[in-house]
């Protein structure tokens, strides 16, 4: 619904303005400079901005209506507006990777993207990896099997970076994977264990998760194993 073609709602324009009236007004004023330009022409002294604060972002396959400030980052919206706290904020400066999410399947630092720039695009967070029936994503399963992390603050970011990288290279060497996910830091420092887990995840994605290993993310489900599994799915 809400995309780049939204009519602006600046500070001053009358609330009832319609796009049609606005275009007509601009044309009448002789100020139109091109078909796509009317949206930016404002009477002198007024600033029109990009549209509503209430926008739609597709998060984990669902369109989410959310009230977003112009200066708000995606990590902020996800955590504090949508309650998706699996995306972590480590540095808020594009220097650690904890906030990594996929935008149209490509890994980005959520702390360094304005939410208004991803209107209408598909955002995937750690909460969106498990399937609808609660089965963990193969890379999540591999993290459990390999005990990939210690405190796991960096885990969501590493998982999202890995899942994004594997879409471009499903069968990487260990070095290629290390290079592919080199934009993520772990403060607990066991990169070897992380790589073990992520390589195992790549293998599970190609060959399937071995029978008997499949866990589900639904807490309280006897098949789910333990709370840690549910926590993993939430990125907690």
């Amino acid at each position: 619904m809400s995309d780049r073609n939204d009519l602006k709602s600046g500070e001053n324009p009358p609330k009832t303005i319609t796009r049609r009236n606005f275009i007509l007004g601009v044309i009448a004023g002789g100020a139109a400079v091109g078909a796509a330009s009317y949206r930016f022409l404002a009477p002198r002294g007024r600033t029109y901005s990009t549209g509503e604060r209430l926008i739609t972002v597709n998060v984990n396959g669902k369109p989410r209506r959310v009230d977003v400030m112009k200066q708000e980052t995606l990590a902020w919206t996800l955590r504090y507006k949508l309650g998706l706290t699996g995306t972590k904020l480590g540095c808020d400066r594009a220097e650690c990777g904890a906030c990594t999410v996929l935008i149209d399947n490509v890994p980005h630092y959520g702390c360094s993207v304005l939410t208004h720039t991803v209107r209408g695009r598909n955002v995937t967070t750690i909460e969106g990896l498990a399937s609808a029936d609660g089965r963990l994503h193969p890379v999540q399963q591999a993290v459990i099997d390999e005990q990939g992390f210690q405190c796991a603050f960096c885990m969501s970011g590493f998982l999202m970076a890995t899942v994004g990288f594997l879409k471009t290279n499903p069968n990487p060497t260990r070095k290629e994977l290390a290079h592919g996910i080199s934009g993520n830091l772990c403060r607990c420092q066991d990169y070897n264990k992380i790589l073990d887990a992520m390589m195992r995840g790549a293998e599970y994605m190609r060959d399937g998760i071995p029978a008997g290993k499949t866990l589900t993310a639904i807490a309280g489900n006897p098949a789910a194993g333990d709370d840690a599994t549910a926590a993993l799915a939430r990125g907690a």
């Binding site: 780049r4 600046g10 400079v33 091109g34 796509a36 330009s37 930016f40 600033t47 029109y48 901005s49 990009t50 549209g51 400030m69 112009k70 200066q71 708000e72 980052t73 902020w76 904020l89 540095c91 808020d92 400066r93 594009a94 220097e95 990777g97 990594t100 490509v106 890994p107 980005h108 630092y109 360094s112 993207v113 304005l114 208004h116 720039t117 970076a161 990288f165 990487p172 060497t173 070095k175 290629e176 290390a178 290079h179 592919g180 996910i181 080199s182 934009g183």
Partner: protein, 353 residues
């Protein structure tokens, strides 16, 4: 160290969908406006409350500024093309690989997925006094905090200083200079095309600006002529960590050999001066000479003539001598570069040898 302080202060966000609209908005808002491409150089300024633009003009919705076109005479790269796209483009990898090499070692994968070529060449200096909001010369003040006996200047300039001793931090620019790239800039007076090295401004000319852009101007594309297609290239970056870190220095060359001798060469170094440096005097001195170690030695010595080190960056002189030497004579040995194959060991060997 960065401090996380809540969200950024409010600004208005304008999201034009054509370059003409963007330019119109930029001209309308003048110095109140800030251009946002990928935003990776911009957000620190805004988060730290050091630059406070009233209006951000977001270029990410302008499709005509994105993508790489192979033209009759080389390639044209839209300013909004991401560094990952530049690194992976088959024509660039095939014929202009010095550029794929250079952009593959920028920052980190996520930054390359979002950072644009236009933003990378237009980014500001990384001097931490300036970035930290100290009122230095470059910030319009009256002092340089880096160029003092105790200033932290290990990363700073050995050439071209004029009050400001910051260096240009881009990895892509020396490769673009080696390829004789042209930058296409839209100004209020129409389109201008400038040589890569002339896009930049030194502190002697205007200490508060890093490039020729005036408020209202927009970089739309970078054109690489076919003149150097398939030449022998060399690129090397030296940095503290393999990921994220800006170059302590980098070097790029394009060489055409004939019968073992250098018949044509372009050579550039960055992170040594406030402006990316094309080493024209070295180019002239090595033309006609064999691409061997003695020519390399001579080139390296010539390159560092006139260098003025600061308190903590004298290491940059031998570093530059060696990098220039390799860029002139190490070309034959430099084949697959580690970063392209994901092989970090290859990179390390290149640095240590």
């Amino acid at each position: 160290m960065a401090i996380i302080r809540d969200v950024m202060p409010a600004f208005d966000l304008l999201q034009p969908s054509s370059a003409a609209d963007a330019q119109k908005l930029l001209q309308e808002h003048g110095s109140d406006a800030w251009i946002m491409a990928g935003g990776l150089d911009s957000f620190d300024w805004l988060k730290d409350r050091i630059k406070k633009p009233k209006v951000l003009v977001d270029l990410s919705g302008i499709d005509e500024l994105k993508g790489i076109r192979v033209t009759g005479d080389g390639v044209e790269i839209g300013a909004m093309t991401t560094l990952t796209e530049v690194a992976e483009h088959p024509e660039i990898r095939k014929n202009y690989s010095v550029l794929s090499q250079a952009v593959s070692v920028v920052a980190s994968p996520q930054i390359r997925n979002q950072g644009t070529l236009g933003g990378n060449v237009s980014q500001d200096v990384r001097c931490w006094y300036y970035r930290g909001g100290w009122p230095c010369y470059r910030a319009g003040g009256n002092i340089c905090y880096a160029d003092t006996p105790v200033g932290r200047n290990r990363e700073h300039a050995i050439f071209g200083a004029d009050r400001c001793v910051a260096v240009h931090p881009s990895d892509s620019v020396p490769a673009l200079i080696a390829l004789d790239a042209k930058f296409v800039v839209q100004t209020s007076k129409g389109e201008k095309t400038v040589d890569a090295e002339n896009y930049y401004i030194g502190p002697d000319l205007d200490i508060t600006r890093i490039n020729m852009l005036q408020p209202g101007d927009l970089l739309t594309a970078i054109r690489i002529p076919s003149t150097w297609a398939g030449a022998t290239f060399y690129f090397e970056k030296v940095r503290d960590r393999n990921v994220w870190d800006f170059p302590l220095m980098n070097v790029a060359s394009a060489i055409v050999l004939s019968g073992g001798a250098i018949s044509r060469i372009r050579l550039a170094v960055n992170a040594v001066s406030p402006r990316p440096m094309r080493l024209k005097n070295v180019e002239d001195a090595v033309v006609g000479k064999p691409a061997d170690a003695s020519t390399g030695e001579m080139a390296g010595k010539l390159a560092v003539q006139g260098a003025v080190p600061l308190q903590f960056n004298a290491y940059k002189i031998p570093l530059m001598r060696n990098l220039v030497k390799r860029a002139v004579c190490g070309v034959a040995g430099q084949q697959a570069y580690g970063a392209l194959t994901g092989d970090l060991d290859t990179q390390e060997v290149a640095w240590n040898s």
